[in-house]
Symmetry: C2
Subunit: 672 residues, 2 copies
């Protein structure tokens, strides 16, 4: 039957072609470019290439498949089934031969480029194409008459059996090579890292067939928190997630205070570098332990961070980022050994990939958001706001993308707020205030009921970021706060929940056992500063683009997911759009890191994209200051927010007359 051909159709890809009768299904898949996994290279030991022949009539394809179209079980398959069990209807693609016209289904788990569908609202799909993969090879045994190193015979085998060309081998692998080769009787499984840019690299090896999985970390290194996902590099699944405070916080809450710390304390950068590296190492150990995997199996880390965090992680003094012209030491994506970052708890040869920085104030985290949200592929003009201590803002569509960052400070994260706290059990996360009675009700983290529902009995400890946004917006909507941000007196507001605090007022949101949770005038001011910076950054990009409106707003950042769009609009954090056009992208920077971890071509993609993004430097743009001042009002001194007004009305109160703050009259004039 050597020269006869058979028709073979693979589903779900629909690939179709002619192969010689007697060809194995795995070989046919390779010939036709069908994604069919194999670690052992067709030796019938890894079981990754399982397929399902589809017997019967396939009118869609115009062929009928008989039982005789595929060879019967051979000894290898029978042995495999006996030892490890083969699911009903399944065959090993490397053993089963195509004898007649055949339709073959490749189940999800046998597909080389699996797709991982992100959870929740997301529809973006990650195509699995990890940089580090396992290969099983049979290595020629040493021969005195043709002396060559064990390593050279191993790399020859990789080339012959897997088509992998030049491979660099680190010393730590060379030193372990000989005993492992002999333990596996010259059959070994190697982990090869090849992200398409750097030379391929042999990261590790195991005797015989290793099937214990390879893992990678996607790390979002923020000013306040460090978040990490531990991912299976074969399935793409997140097997553990976690986070912790960035320990650098003790040297300064926001970026600029950390840069100042370095300026004032020579060597302070080294302390912060060590602190963050230790924190990441500890987090890594925690996640590996939670997932029950060996640290040796973690072979890659993808890290995203803003420029100051990025430089401090690398051990670069961030001094230049604190002063014009805000020069990055290095802006390109970085490929280096995790070891060089002194991060432990991973494979000794694990590789790190840091996404490129966009500009001195727009970091690799913003690049990750761009990778995840792909503003440059949108039909509608989309504003993406990654809310954090420093906000990264992207504006774009198919015609181009603009980026800037804005120093919002940590108020949105509950810092600098009198009753502020991290999002943790006991924190108020949602607030409603009755516009008539000015009485509040709220919900706290860890308790499903609202505070006015029967049985509510939470220990209320403070207000987290989303709670503070909601309470300020609700206070504005209930007329407790006026457009300039002033809290009226109890008399003016008509509520004894308003109490005097020196020359200003505060609103008592909760009281129990004599302890009050208040929203003070200072809290309102802090939120005003933060939201003005955010809005001004967005507005600057709109100016650059020459538009007054955007079509969509995407709130990114772990925190962005918890922001109520309506309350954000009432505060004027974001430009006015129809409420349904405000969506959340979750932790888009973290998702971008995960995409770059699981798909190596995404790395080249974002590196090219970043080169195309137009950067706007808020710090030197005179209009930023102008936009910032105008954005101080709630929602805004100039922009009328018609979409917001269509769904809600804001009371036209003004508490400035009785107050003592000098700037108020000027602001009110602007508003009028």
């Amino acid at each position: 039957m050597t020269s006869e051909t058979r028709t073979v159709i693979f589903t779900p890809s629909g690939r179709r072609g002619q192969v010689e009768a007697g060809t194995t299904v795995l070989e046919a898949a390779r010939q036709l470019g069908v994604d069919l996994e194999s670690v052992c290279g067709g030796r019938g030991i890894c079981s990754k290439c399982q397929i399902e022949p589809q017997f019967g009539t396939h009118s869609k394809h115009g062929i009928t498949v008989s039982e005789a179209a595929i060879s019967g079980w051979n000894a290898t398959e029978a042995r495999y089934d006996e030892k490890r069990g083969l699911k009903q209807g399944r065959r090993l693609g490397c053993q089963a031969q195509i004898l007649g016209d055949l339709v073959v289904d490749v189940p999800e788990e046998s597909q080389l480029h699996r797709q991982v569908v992100r959870k929740a609202a997301d529809t973006r799909v990650i195509h699995m194409d990890p940089a580090t993969r396992l290969y099983h090879v049979e290595v020629a045994e040493p021969d005195m008459h043709e002396p060559s190193g064990d390593l050279q015979r191993l790399t020859e085998a990789l080339s012959e059996q897997w088509g992998i060309g030049a491979v660099e081998t680190p010393l730590s692998v060379m030193t372990r090579l000989q005993p492992i080769l002999r333990k596996g009787a010259f059959r070994v499984t190697v982990a090869v890292h090849d992200d398409g840019d750097a030379p391929a690299r042999l990261l590790d090896l195991w005797p015989g067939l290793y099937d214990g999985g390879l893992y990678g970390l996607a790390i979002d290194l923020g000013s306040t928190t460090i978040a990490a996902h531990l991912c299976d590099l074969t399935t793409g699944n997140v097997i553990a997630s976690g986070g912790r405070m960035n320990p650098q916080i003790r040297y300064g809450e926001d970026l600029m205070s950390r840069v100042s710390y370095v300026m004032m304390n020579p060597g302070g950068d080294a302390k912060m570098t060590a602190a963050v590296r230790t924190a990441i190492s500890e987090l890594t150990v925690e996640l590996a332990s939670e997932a029950g995997i060996e640290s040796q199996t973690i072979v890659e880390c993808v890290i995203v961070a803003n420029p100051v965090m990025h430089h401090l992680l690398l051990g670069i003094d961030p001094l230049e980022l604190g002063q014009a012209p805000f020069a990055l030491a290095t802006s390109d994506a970085l490929r280096l050994a995790v070891r060089a970052l002194e991060i432990t708890g991973v494979n000794a040869e694990a590789r790190a990939y840091l996404l490129p920085c966009i500009a001195g104030h727009v970091g690799a985290d913003a690049a990750a958001v761009a990778l995840s949200e792909a503003p440059g592929e949108q039909d509608e003009l989309t504003l993406i706001v990654d809310v954090g201590t420093n906000a990264e803002i992207l504006l774009g569509d198919r015609n181009g993308v603009l980026a800037c960052s804005s120093p919002t400070g940590p108020a949105f994260e509950g810092a600098q707020i009198s009753a502020g706290q991290r999002a943790a059990p006991g924190a108020i996360e949602a607030v409603r205030i009755d516009p008539v009675t000015r009485e509040p009700r709220f919900r706290v983290i860890g308790e499903e009921r609202w505070s006015d529902e029967p049985g509510f009995d939470a220990n209320v400890t403070g207000i987290c970021g989303s709670g503070i946004i909601e309470v300020v917006a609700e206070m504005r909507q209930a007329g407790i706060v006026d457009a300039s941000g002033l809290i009226g007196s109890a008399e003016q507001v008509g509520s004894d929940r308003v109490i005097a605090e020196g020359r200003t007022h505060a609103y008592v949101l909760h009281e129990k056992d004599g302890r009050q949770i208040r929203v003070t005038q200072g809290d309102i001011r802090a939120i005003q500063l933060a939201k003005s910076a955010l809005y001004a950054g967005a507005r600057l990009l709109m100016d650059e683009r020459g538009v007054d409106r955007v079509s969509r707003v995407v709130l990114a950042g772990a925190f962005g997911a918890h922001i109520s769009p309506k309350h954000a609009l009432i505060l004027g954090m974001i430009p006015d759009v129809p409420l349904e056009q405000v969506t959340s992208a979750g932790n888009a920077a973290g998702t971008g890191a995960r995409i770059a971890l699981l798909n190596r071509s995404a790395r080249a993609e974002i590196e090219a994209t970043v080169g195309q993004i137009r950067k706007v430097e808020t710090a030197i743009e005179p209009r930023f200051q102008e936009h910032f001042v105008a954005a101080n009002a709630l929602p805004h001194a100039v922009d009328t927010f018609p979409e917001l007004r269509a769904i809600t009305s804001l009371p036209n109160v003004s508490y400035g007359a009785g107050g003592g703050e000098g700037e108020r009259p000027r602001r009110r004039r602007r508003k009028s």
Copy 2:
């Protein structure tokens, strides 16, 4: 004058061409492919491109050069001359413009590919083409509107100003980049390593113009001694040389005893690895201190070693090298960070290059000898013997090269010899014995006079390797020792310098203050074993090649340089050739290391050569044992050594009859 052309001729290269009038000499040199050095890239600050215009009539070239053929001094040249002085007749090639037909001489020190002529008998020339070079670049200053990292602007400058493409930058350079760039007002000198195989790498940088030199180490890591040359990577000069004992000696004198040590003592390899790394680090510090250079300026190490030393240096357990099939863990040339070898005292990013190993018993040291002595380029069949604890033997000519190694043991280096010692002041290094009186005279290291000359008054401490070879050969020639290696009795020999030692005899070479320096029967046996191994290895290669004679013998190894060819022939260490065909190559392995250090294309060359060499494994070749036994006699039991007999006669004595060693009769039968 824009479109007029001028004839320019460069000497000594003789390159000739037309250039546009007004072209600088440096630019003309580049256009015509003339080697003219420049570090600053033509900015008139490095002074490397000095040239000498040759005025007057050049009948050979058919042109006359007038004073007006070259532009007068400009401000840059005048300032340079004032500050640093320009030699009479010299001009800066980057400033002087060609205005008329011109002959330009490029002095030796301005040539990019300088030639370094090796000293002494050697005629081989090393073309300077180091892998690491300095480049002065002007980097664009940061621009907020076009944000890119300082590193990216630096690499762009390297590409634009020097044509250097992709450059990898290690983290340690990134972290120092920003302050250095600013200190140099965005002009820096960078050291770029590019040996043609690995990606180019930015090893270090200095503010402004750095002119302090770059250095490299050529290290010959032997079983007994470690020798190193510290070389100037610009001139090729050796600026310091030194050596020390290999501290692994405490774990075993020869290779196999060190492998045994590892087998018997788990973790013993790590101890030996640490010991040799520390020794190299200390030697490096010593050499840098002697030469008065900063350790940071040492940017490369080339290391040659036999396979066991090579593996132990790398931290690879040499176990497999101690048993058939003698598999190397890795045989190819290695490029890695010196840091990975835990060798200190060099630049943090210094690169190491290890020559390839030829086979399990024929190491990178033999490859270095092949690079230095180039057996494959010889017209005459040449035997190259690198004498050490393990002898590497190469046999070849243009028709091909064969290689093997032979376990001679350390006897030739004075070890295992009763009065043996290292070659140091006080050691007997040359011996003559009067064939009539059997009275010796000798010369010791550190004293020019022979022992029988008036005024000789050295403190004689022992016999070094060359001395032991000479004394045994002289004893054979004077009839004190017979062909089987037996020392006759005082009566048989007719000299009261022969004394009884149990059942054997010893020859008293020197006596002072009651302390005798003797040559014992055991010493003779040790030399016989060593020389038999050497000869048997050479003979095996001759068998493989199908010849009975070779045309030339080259003695390599630091020790080989001190061996008297005539005495070596009398002992039968080497095959019989006319005396004048035995030459010394000095430390050929060390020279090979130096060649690979100073000329990067030599690396590709030796890597290709090693692939062509045919390897012979002495340990499994049955004829080796046969050759070894036959070579036990002095000079040989079977081979007649006609060339030797033509210049000297060896007395036909035999002391076996009265002795008691059982093996003697058998040997004598073989001889008869």
